[in-house]
């Protein structure tokens, strides 16, 4: 609209001076317009009367996927919120879009400029949360939760809320995760059948199976077989690496683990070198993807699985089973191909140890500068109350879902309107990650029912595997500053270490491992170790 008005102005004048003059006037009007807006904003903070009509600004992720007819700030769900929460409470809920891919950057700029800061902001990045808390920019929501949000507190529970504490103060409200399982592994059942092999049960058996895949090429790929599909994304290497980590004492678990970003890394834990050594062996014997170090987004792996080159791989538990996903495409390309969910990697104790998610999702925060902290907490409380969350996550009964055994099942072939209604459901229902139905069992069931029916059995098996023998994240009493500072750099170095040691010639393995570990320690690894050791001592002394 603005554009149209200006078009006349600009296009109508050809003389340079005139155009320049226009730009000049524009600057001035812009200036004066702004000063007016500033006064308004600062003047609006007056009374506290409950009757007063107030505006609550809430951050929302913009993924650029709004369907035709709605926008990220104006759609079915925002209207639903306004109708059911805003109106009764005399609050205008205004959504502030933040591009998903630049969330931290944009949030930083908003915070630093002290303007347009939403009353509710959030991030998945624990470092950003820690930084904001440390710099004193967040509201202590503890008392507000006690006063205004009994349902929310009950919904999240003490454990989840614990992740939102910074040095004992509740500076964030963490979202609750509906499912903490991460990974499962998958094997080409039809290849095993063809070769008359059983499903491997241990890492050693797996190694033999991989060799058989390589030598006998049951998929008739013409020498292109990739017995073990690998990438440099965590879903592929974590199950392998963590299965090599040896059992450790409580103290070692706390001090030697390194949390980089939101995940724990085993760089210093005993057994990590053995894991790399095993990867190195697989690589040099041609058993894993040669270019795995280039495959950050798993695109190549997806192709290789879909074209029937991969015999075995690990992945996010239900990832292969999406409609038109890897398995679907594989079965189109290779009739008769079967992918079985399996749990193979075993550790010293014979367990299928693998990481799990922390029970919390993103960190929801209220900036200290916000004058609407109470309303913000009320908004979250509303979301956690009665069936509001259920509605935000599932839509309208009959059009989006039907209830089967207490579980909402997505309607097959929903109308375009029904589908579009829910496009941003995950980003609106911020107090939860994934659908919440009251128990883990139901949550998993509901999750499985979202997947294509023909794969239901394998999906359920994968979910069970993902939740078996999981390694819990290590929670320290206070944030480790060195992790906030060096986390990003060290994560890069960690991945680099995997790639370089795996691709090394066997006789150079030790040398490269030593050099890289030294660099890792010097770039912040040592600082994290020292700090964690100190904090652990404090924790012991406190008990």
């Amino acid at each position: 609209m603005i554009g149209n008005k200006q078009r006349k102005g600009i296009m109508g004048t050809k003389k340079a001076a005139l155009t320049a003059g226009l730009a000049c006037t524009l600057l001035f009007t812009a200036c004066s317009a702004n000063s007016g807006a500033g006064e308004e904003a600062s003047g609006g903070s007056g009374g506290e009367g409950a009757k007063e009509h107030v505006t609550l600004k809430v951050e929302v992720f913009d993924r650029g996927n709004s369907p035709a007819g709605s926008t990220i700030t104006d759609n079915y769900l925002t209207k639903y919120v306004q109708e059911n929460f805003g109106k009764p409470n005399n609050i205008d809920v205004e959504y502030v879009p933040v591009p998903r891919s630049e969330e931290v950057e944009k949030l930083n700029v908003l915070m630093a400029s002290g303007s347009n800061v939403p009353d509710i902001v959030f991030t998945y990045d624990p470092n950003t949360f820690n930084r904001y808390a440390k710099q004193g920019g967040l509201t202590d929501v503890g008392p507000l939760l006690d006063e205004h949000a009994p349902n929310l507190k009950a919904f999240l529970g003490e454990e989840v809320l614990g992740y939102g504490k910074f040095e004992g103060t509740q500076f964030a409200i963490p979202a609750k995760r509906s499912n903490v399982g991460k990974y499962a592994s998958f094997i080409r059942q039809d290849w095993l059948d063809k070769l008359g092999l059983p499903v491997p049960q241990t890492t050693d058996e797996l190694y033999e199976t991989l060799k058989a895949f390589k030598e006998k090429d049951p998929g008739e790929t013409g020498g292109q077989v990739i017995p073990l599909g690998m990438t440099i994304a965590s879903a592929q290497y974590e199950p392998l690496i963590w299965s090599f980590i040896k059992p450790v004492s409580e103290e070692e678990r706390h001090t030697l683990t390194q949390q980089l970003g939101s995940n724990d890394y085993p760089t210093l834990l005993p057994g990590f070198k053995d894991a790399l050594q095993f990867m190195n062996k697989l690589y040099n014997e041609g058993l894993i993807s040669k270019d795995f170090g280039l495959d950050k987004d798993k695109k190549k792996l997806g192709e290789d699985v879909a074209t029937g080159k991969v015999g075995f791989y690990s992945e996010d538990d239900i990832n292969p089973f999406y409609e038109k996903g890897s398995l679907d495409t594989l079965q189109q390309n290779v009739p008769g191909a079967q992918l079985a969910s399996v749990d193979v990697y075993t550790n010293e104790e014979g367990k299928h140890a693998k990481p799990m998610y922390a029970p919390n999702g993103m960190y929801i925060m209220i900036p200290k500068s916000s004058e609407r902290a109470v309303e913000a907490v009320k908004y979250l409380e509303w979301m956690a109350t009665s069936d509001n969350l259920f509605h935000l996550q599932n839509g309208i009964e009959g059009e989006n879902y039907t209830m089967v055994d207490d579980i909402p099942v997505a309607v097959e072939n929903p109308s375009e309107e029904a589908l579009n209604r829910m496009f941003n459901s995950g980003d609106m229902a911020i107090v939860s990650n994934g659908k919440q139905l009251g128990s883990m069992e139901k949550n998993l069931k509901a999750r499985a029912l979202q997947m294509p029916k023909k794969f239901l059995e394998q999906v359920e098996a994968a979910q069970v595997i993902a939740n078996a023998d999981v390694i819990e994240p290590v929670l320290m009493d206070r944030p480790i500053e060195a992790q906030t500072k060096y986390g990003t750099t060290l994560l890069d170095k960690f991945n680099e270490m995997i790639v370089k040691t795996t691709m090394a010639k066997p006789d150079q393995f030790d040398g490269i491992y030593e050099t890289m570990l030294k660099d890792y320690m010097a770039s912040g690894g040592q600082a994290i170790l020292d700090e964690r050791t100190a904090v652990y001592k404090e924790m012991q002394a406190a008990n």
Partner: protein, 300 residues
């Protein structure tokens, strides 16, 4: 000439300058107070003015980081190689286009050659992988089908340098020709006719007429390029680079991205930026001075 006479004669030039100068003052110099972040312990909630002064502490921290020197070395190395390879490429291409006498082909190829400039790096990254991958890249498929050993274009650091340069040339050469083609329109055609009568060969003509005609443009571009020896775009090394060649592909821009945006250490990022700015300014002034002495051409 006295000031009054001078001004009466040239006031129009200053009038023209007024608005552009206002632009520079408001939009470029206005925000420059942000540079003080380099000397402050930046706190998001105190803002730039409210953060505490820390003197040169952040400089000491950056200059003590091993990654700083590594990425500085890589930045200089990649830029220097680019200067040798990617800088002359558009010049050569432009002359080739200029010499092309088949008009329809000239226009067509001119238009197509600059397409890569419009493809975003994210997409180029995917294509590079498909073309240069070791296991199933297009080039290596041909190499191995001929019975040779696959070449690790992306995972061996020296091979990677070649790939990096080639992709750079491919992406920017066509685009770079535009400025030279514009400069070539200024060459006096009569000179060519005269040379034709003299019976000078094509290469001779290029050497004695075309290149000298392009000299001012080449010099300007070269000086600007030298000024940017310590700065480097983020996307190309980030997208083509990978963990196996991080030793070479990690550069100042990726370093700044890591410490600044991802780790929120704006102070350190600003320090690196300031370092790059000072070095860049020194380089460009030095290059300009040298060029003035040698060729009488320069940018100011």
């Amino acid at each position: 000439m006295g000031w009054i006479v001078y001004f009466r004669r040239y006031w129009q030039l200053y009038a023209l300058l007024a608005l552009p100068l206002a632009y520079f003052i408001i939009f470029k110099y206005g925000p420059m107070y942000g540079i003080q972040i380099a000397f402050k312990d930046f706190n998001f909630f105190q803002g730039i003015a409210g953060s505490e002064w820390i003197g040169f502490d952040a400089f000491k921290e950056v200059f003590a980081m091993r990654d700083f020197y590594l990425t500085l070395r890589n930045t200089l190395m990649l830029n220097f190689l680019d200067l040798l390879v990617s800088f002359p490429a558009p010049l050569i291409l432009a002359i080739m286009l200029y010499e092309m006498k088949t008009v329809w082909f000239k226009k067509l190829s001119q238009t197509i050659l600059y397409i890569p400039h419009f493809i975003s790096w994210v997409i180029i990254g995917g294509i590079v992988y498909q073309v240069f991958g070791t296991q199933s890249g297009m080039i290596n498929n041909i190499i191995t089908s001929l019975g040779f050993e696959a070449i690790p274009f992306l995972t061996d650091k020296n091979d990677w340098l070649v790939t990096y340069l080639l992709v750079g040339v491919w992406q920017s050469a066509g685009w770079g020709t535009i400025i030279y083609l514009a400069a070539l329109t200024g060459i006096n055609k009569e000179l060519f006719e005269a040379a034709g009568i003299d019976g000078a060969g094509r290469l001779k003509r290029i050497w004695h007429i075309t290149l000298p005609g392009l000299k001012p443009t080449i010099v300007v571009l070269l000086i600007i390029n030298l000024g940017h020896m310590v700065s480097i775009g983020f996307e190309r090394p980030y997208v083509i680079g990978n963990l196996a060649v991080r030793e070479y592909s990690d550069v100042l821009s990726t370093f700044v991205y890591r410490i600044g945006l991802e780790s929120g250490q704006y102070t350190l990022a600003t320090v690196v930026g300031l370092f790059q700015a000072v070095v860049g300014l020194v380089f460009v002034l030095g290059a300009n001075y040298t060029s003035k002495k040698l060729t009488d051409e320069g940018i100011m």
